[in-house]
């Protein structure tokens, strides 16, 4: 790792101000992505600003039909939260499948979304549930947030403060783990709103990051059941291919994980 300057921020404004002072500042939340990257010397921030101790950025609130997860809340706390388990069990379940226990203790939802790894789990839930990403500057709709591999609508120095999830009628997540990294080789999140709208998002599959899967959405809108996807074919075009999965295999997984997600949603 290159030498850097570590700052522990006490509040969101403090973090933003410290960020602005550095030459090449980076926010640090759980560090479960940034630190491995820095260790490999693939990132060289002059300053790292630690968000993980900012009290206003930690915690989970449920009000009415919305579950709000503050950005620095670790995956473990989301997975364990009784409120989340009750309102959107699929989201708690997803959080419990991220990485391993030590990663879940430190990694945060804000870090995961800001990083937008094409194989990360949270983006699938955020996109399928139509969540809103709240920052220190604005609110961004999920559909506008993800901009391809490792890229988002966030501006330099913008801080995700919370993510607001509308509570769906039904939702489910199924993930085929990458054998080595344990990220999603392909994960599919399906949701049906109380109004009857259906959305499905797949992570790990596409060359351009998390994506909606219209074929699955249409089939499920007509018939919310795993069997409804039997006749769906997913095109391998534009899907990732590597030693752990060909594009055809990932296309198959989008469908099979979609079916299992629906089954899990009930």
């Amino acid at each position: 790792m290159y030498e850097t300057n570590y700052h522990r921020a006490s509040s969101v404004p403090d973090a933003a101000a410290t960020f602005a002072k550095g030459k090449e500042s980076k926010f640090l939340a759980g560090g479960q992505t940034l630190l491995p990257v820095m260790k490999q010397r693939l990132a060289a921030p002059s300053d790292v600003i630690d968000l993980s101790k900012i009290q206003e950025m930690i915690g989970i609130e449920v009000s009415g039909d919305t579950v709000t997860i503050k950005a620095a809340t670790p995956h473990y706390d989301v997975a364990q939260s009784e409120a989340v388990q009750k309102a959107i069990p699929a989201l708690a379940n997803l959080a419990s499948m991220i990485g391993d226990p030590a990663v879940r203790y430190r990694g945060t939802i804000g870090g995961s979304l800001a990083n937008n790894d094409p194989a990360a789990d949270y983006p699938a839930a955020v996109l399928a549930l139509g969540a809103t990403i709240k920052t220190n500057k604005r609110a961004i709709a999920a559909g506008d947030f993800f901009k391809g591999l490792f890229s988002t609508a966030l501006e330099d120095g913008e801080i995700i403060t919370a993510v607001a999830f509308p509570v769906p009628a039904k939702a489910g997540y199924a993930k085929m783990r990458h054998p080595a990294s344990r990220f999603a080789l392909t994960g599919v999140f399906v949701a049906r709103t109380k109004a009857g709208d259906v959305s499905a998002a797949a992570t790990g599959a596409s060359q351009s990051g998390v994506m909606r899967v219209p074929a699955i959405e249409q089939a499920l809108k007509a018939n919310w059941s795993p069997g409804a996807l039997d006749s769906v074919t997913i095109s391998a075009n534009g899907l990732l291919a590597d030693i752990h999965g060909s594009a055809e295999y990932r296309a198959n997984l989008v469908k099979v994980m979609g079916q299992r997600a629906v089954a899990a949603a009930g």
Binding site: E3, G99, P101, Y105, R106
Partner: protein, 161 residues
């Protein structure tokens, strides 16, 4: 350079380190607590697991500065007054280690697993929960046995308290 103050195995320490120093290096190089190991560069093997404020985390994926003010327990701090922690004893009694390199991280993770699950542990859960700890020697068979055994012992120990 910064001065990092924290509590390690119950002892308050204050160390001057470069800001890029990882917790694992502070422990190994500055405090000579070499029981915590490094087995990878990608935060995956778990050889470096210690407890920070009661949670099992990878000390290779935490800056020393992030641990400032925290309470850190390493493998060296687990046995109390020369008496092995039930998890340590269970690893020995079940032959849950061979070369010993993964062992400190394994034990620290395992203690955390039992804390979280209490007596509700079964083999499948233990295997799943050990996802972040790689062992090349044991094939995990005896590690799983050891964790289940220790879960029983820890329950008994708790009940006795």
């Amino acid at each position: 350079m910064s001065t990092v103050k924290l509590t390690v195995n119950g002892r308050a320490v204050s160390v001057d380190v470069e800001d890029r120093t990882l917790l694992v290096h502070l422990l190994r190089e500055n405090l000579n607590l070499t029981g915590t190991h490094v087995g990878c560069d990608t935060s995956q093997c778990g050889a470096c697991v210690v407890h920070v404020d009661g949670r099992a985390v990878k000390s290779c994926t935490m800056l020393a500065g992030q641990a400032a003010g925290s309470n850190v327990t390493t493998i060296e701090g687990l046995a109390k007054g020369g008496e092995l922690h039930p998890m340590q004893a269970a690893f020995r009694d079940n032959h849950g280690l061979q070369c010993g390199y993964c062992t400190p991280g394994m034990i620290m993770s395992a203690v955390d697993i039992v804390h979280r699950h209490g007596g509700k542990l079964d083999e499948e859960t233990v295997r799943h929960e050990l996802e972040g700890n790689i062992c090349r020697c044991t094939g995990y068979h005896n590690i799983v046995k050891a964790v289940l055994d220790a879960a029983g012992r820890m329950k008994v120990a708790q009940a006795a308290e």
